[in-house]
């Protein structure tokens, strides 16, 4: 470390844990020459990991070093899984080396006397920094570090990141722009030429391969030889429900794997997950079906092969998963890509190019996340209180809040104390008090307790724990899914068939069942979008469809029957063409546009276009989009010629049109949900206490409307829109996409039935809605959903 700060760029499985633990321990030895006989107590280093599942592994490697070097240093873990007893013990004697998560770090900052605790801490390591960087947990980390820089007398800050497009920026965000820490820092790249081989699983007959779908079960039998030819195989799925289904189906078709196959995802209880991880290391498993829960860290040497089921939507993620195999420096990584529908074969081909050129995405850091800042300030007020003049300069040092103005700062302080910008006599708002000497402090114990429960920036749907009636925790499920079950219903979860008995408190009671079922809980996971780079590669691949066969990749070659079908009524677009298809089905009139720019861009573009169409004529339509294009579905045809004549794809007035489009309102509403929870405006309740807190629970839906009507200048309300435009719709990319379309020749095909390209889009059930007709007019054409 040589007294420097920095960022270490190293892939997983390259011994990075040792690379940073070693100097930390050596530093201690240097400063304490009699380290063998006397042991100076107190916290010396903190290791931050985004996944608590990784903490055991990190602890073991730290312990190996401390013992090998003959020190008496202790290593401890503090995460959400740590027992209260263990925590209390830590409060009196902190371990020398502490492994924790960003959330638990903030919980430490919310305890009294935290400054003393951290005083002699000499190093902080932020592991998997790339995972945190593009999320609000990254902001949380920036804020935590800004405090520790002051509190710790002699501190080194190090980050570890896998390869991302903006490594330099990652270092700047970690250390703070224009700080002495950044000045005195290095970026270390571990140059390991790891060979990655990507193989696509190509369906034997294209005729029977589906045009849509997301499960990929058609190719199940092709996975079997892969599993058989390898010591251990990881099968990565994109969602937890897909994971459950694959696990079940493989066992159904191949009972011989029973006992040699396991499942791993974030909702399964911790003991089972740890058991699975251990079993992988022991080589006692042939195959594990998993989700992103096994993406990070943890060395699994026996894994020889990885199968990715369905498009991974990102090059970095794909590389990361590929790296799970041959997980030893110098070994080759093998990853199979299993497409779930025909169009994904194009993605498979593009992915190979991406891996070859190492075309990794950027992780875009958040700016001005006022919700996280409010949470952080409350955290400081809960512990020892804070003086604004002391904290403001620290916050200004962070990347996220480098542009924070004095006015905004004052607004935030007012909001903390008064819950608004002015005082009214009848108001009983209570949170943070200002004491006589100007210290901001929470003095109400209930407020402090509620706040501690709310620390964190990951907002999920309310979850319910699933338990056997006689006790025994199986895992947790979204409340939304359970609410649709009636007693006696059977569903699949954690690889078992369970019969739902009743809801009690915040848990669902179940018993094992032998009945077969098709009910699998769906988790509302975020849908990921292609990056600009990936979209570009995808378009390039698609354009090769018109090349002679010899110049095509095998994936594109295998798609020939589908391209032929597509050409029957439409075209496979070329670089200079922009394709629009229209047709009618029993669902309504479909209008499909193919920019091939990635889901996020299509979401914005569809909203923009629908809004502009609504200016020409009253319209009600629903929007659907995927990575290839988007659809406007309406109960009457939309005049495409009018869209072209009026130049509705123009990039002029894009932002103001987007802001006015009703849909961006809907998107902001969803963003606001998280903001309301993170900033502490919505209380999600104590775990397990459930119903008792009902009086204080409200849906953020309602809250959004109240802000819209009464306080639209609220910084948090406005943040919802900024986030929508910058992070969700990627305004800058959208503009470039529109400018590209402006250069293209528009090809409008009126088809008699859905084309292969359109199929995955029109069957998407997750839809946005847009209408500028009078509600009463709409209703005349609608009917109530009647009881069956």
């Amino acid at each position: 470390m040589e007294g420097k700060h920095g960022l270490l760029n190293a892939p997983t499985g390259s011994g990075k844990t040792y690379a940073l633990w070693f100097p930390i321990v050596l530093n201690y030895i240097k400063n304490n020459p009699d380290y063998r006989s006397t042991h100076k107590k107190g916290l010396k280093a903190v290791w931050i990991t985004p996944l608590r599942a990784l903490s055991q592994e990190i602890k073991q490697s730290a312990e190996r070093i401390t013992q090998d070097l003959g020190t008496q240093m202790t290593v401890g873990i503090r995460t959400g899984d740590t027992s209260t007893k263990e925590r209390a013990k830590q409060r009196t004697t902190m371990p020398d080396l502490l492994i924790t998560t960003p959330e638990s770090l903030h919980l430490l900052l919310s305890s009294k006397g935290y400054a003393k605790l951290f005083k002699d801490c000499t190093a902080i390591v932020v592991d998997e920094w790339h995972e945190l960087l593009g999320s609000k947990r990254g902001v949380q980390m920036e804020l935590g570090l800004s405090r520790l820089k002051t509190v710790c007398t002699d501190l080194r800050i190090w980050g570890i990141s896998a390869t991302i497009g903006n490594l330099e920026q990652a270092r700047e965000v970690l250390l703070g722009p224009a700080t002495p820490q950044l000045e005195n820092s290095v970026l270390v790249k571990a140059n390991l030429n790891k060979k990655i081989t990507v193989k696509s699983i190509i369906p034997k007959t294209m005729e029977k391969f589906p045009w849509r779908g997301h499960l990929g079960l058609h190719l199940l039998e092709d996975v079997v030889p892969i599993i058989n030819n390898s010591r251990t195989t990881l099968l990565f799925t994109n969602t937890r429900s897909q994971c459950e289904i694959w696990f079940q189906k493989i066992l159904e078709k191949h009972p011989e794997y029973a006992g040699e196959m396991a499942m791993h995802h974030g909702s399964i209880n911790k003991e089972t997950r740890l058991w699975v991880e251990q079993a992988i290391r022991n080589e006692s498993l042939r195959a594990v079906v998993c989700t992103s829960s096994l993406d990070l860290g943890v060395d699994f040497a026996p894994v020889e092969t990885v199968v990715q089921i369905g498009g991974p939507k990102g090059v970095a993620r794909f590389l990361q998963r590929a790296g799970r195999s041959g997980h030893r420096p110098g070994k080759e990584s093998v990853i199979y890509f299993l497409p779930t529908h025909a169009m994904e074969l194009i993605e498979a081909s593009a992915m190979q190019k991406a891996v070859l050129h190492h075309a990794v995405e950027d992780r875009i850091p958040y700016l001005n996340s006022f919700d996280v800042l409010l949470q952080y300030l409350t955290t400081l007020a809960v512990s020892d209180g804070f003086y604004p003049e002391e904290i403001f300069p620290e916050i200004k040092q962070t990347f996220c809040f480098q542009a924070l103005s004095e006015d905004q700062w004052q607004w935030l302080l007012n909001f903390l104390v008064m819950g608004s910008q002015s005082l009214k006599s009848y108001d009983e708002y209570k949170k943070v008090d200002v004491e006589e000497d100007g210290k901001f402090k929470v003095n109400n114990r209930a407020v402090a307790m509620r706040h501690r429960f709310q620390i964190g920036t990951i907002v999920g749907d309310a979850t319910i724990s699933v338990r056997y009636q006689k006790g025994g925790y199986i895992g947790s499920i979204e409340e939304y899914f359970i609410s649709k079950l009636s007693p006696g219903d059977v569903f699949t979860f954690a690889g078992r068939n369970l019969e739902f008995i009743r809801i009690k408190g915040m848990s669902a009671h179940v018993r094992n069942s032998s009945k077969r079922t098709s009910k699998v809980p769906s988790w509302m996971g975020g849908r990921l979008s292609f990056s600009a780079k990936m979209s570009e590669l995808l378009r390039q691949e698609l354009y090769t469809a018109e090349l002679p066969k010899a110049k095509q990749s095998i994936e594109i070659q295998s798609l020939a029957p589908m391209f032929a079908k597509q050409r029957e009524e439409s075209i496979v677009p070329q670089p200079h063409q922009f394709l629009i298809e229209t047709f009618k089905t029993s669902d309504g009139y479909h209008h499909i546009f193919y920019p091939f720019e990635g889901r996020a861009i299509h979401e914005g573009m569809s909203s923009l276009l629908a809004y502009r169409i609504s200016l020409l004529t009253p319209i009600t339509c629903s929007l659907a989009f995927n990575d290839y294009g988007f659809e406007l579905l309406s109960d009457k045809p939309i005049d495409i010629q009018a869209i072209l004549d009026n130049n509705l794809f123009t990039a002029d007035y894009m932002l103001s049109d987007l802001q006015k489009s009703l849909n961006s309102n809907e998107m902001a509403r969803r963003k606001f949900r998280d903001i309301a929870v993170i900033s502490g405006m919505v209380f999600t309740g104590y775990p397990e206490k459930g119903v008792k807190m009902k009086h204080l629970q409200s849906s953020s839906e309602l809250l959004f409307d109240v802000f819209k009507d009464f306080e639209d200048d609220n910084l948090l309300y406005q943040q919802a829109f900024t986030e929508t435009f910058e992070h969700q719709l990627e305004e800058g990319r959208l503009r470039l996409a529109l400018e590209r379309i402006a250069q293209q020749e528009i090809v409008w095909k009126q088809c008699s039935r859905p084309t292969p390209f359109s199929f995955p889009i029109i069957t998407d059930r997750l839809r946005e809605k847009l209408s500028n007709e009078k509600l009463a007019d709409c209703i005349k054409r609608m009917t109530a959903i009647l009881n069956k």
Binding site: Y426, K430, M681, H695, L696, L702, A784
Partner: protein, 208 residues
């Protein structure tokens, strides 16, 4: 929108009130006053201006019908006493109609506080053949007016269009009123064949 039930005339108002013409009685359910203040007291910064909205809407409804009596069908106050009570006192003082309360599950404020304002409280009320309660209840030979549910209806149309609207929900012998309160949610009900649904569509009431 007017309805005749047991030879009596009832008017449905898009703000969520129901007016019994013959008795000059205005029925309002689930106002949840004090909810915004309750949240603020516990550190959730719901915009303060929202407090006044309920009173403004109540005034609109009262001036529209000028009823002799106003009956709240429960959940008038969301939670324990807070300073919004003073605003409610002011509103009661300037409202000429008689006010009565049929208590709901949220009404936990001491009855004496209501007595001080001359507001009588009943667990339920029977007027002629009509039963007024908070919780839905079917009783022989009676028609029930109640609240509690915050009913809404889901609609669908061609082109996969979907909509959710608060509504008056009438079954054979019962009418569930929509929640009047501004800062409250709704619960979607599935109508069966015999049910009648009167949805609130912006500023009108439409029979679905």
């Amino acid at each position: 929108m007017n309805l005749t039930i047991k030879d009596q005339t009832f008017q449905l108002h898009p703000l969520g009130g129901l007016f019994w013409q013959e008795k000059s009685l205005l029925l309002i359910s689930d106002v949840h006053l004090g909810k915004v203040s309750h949240f603020r007291k516990f550190g959730a910064a719901v915009p303060r201006k929202a407090v006044h909205k309920n009173f403004v809407l109540l005034d609109m409804l009262v001036s529209n019908f000028q009823p002799f009596q106003i009956c709240f069908l429960g959940d008038l106050f969301h939670s324990s006493l807070n300073k919004e009570w003073e605003l409610f006192e002011n509103w009661v003082a300037k409202t000429p109609s008689e006010i009565i309360l049929v208590a709901g599950n949220h009404d936990i404020i001491a009855p004496e506080k209501f007595q001080q304002l001359d507001i009588p409280i009943f667990p339920e009320l029977v007027i002629d053949d009509f039963l007024l309660t908070h919780h839905p209840e079917e009783r022989e030979d009676h028609f029930t007016f109640c609240g509690h549910i915050h009913p809404a209806v889901k609609l669908q149309g061609f082109g996969r269009q979907r909509l959710r609207l608060p509504c008056f929900f009438k079954s054979k012998n019962q009418m569930i009123l929509p929640a009047f309160g501004q800062f409250t949610g709704t619960h979607a009900l599935n109508p069966s064949k015999d049910d009648e649904v009167y949805a609130i569509v912006e500023d009108t009431v439409v029979k679905i």
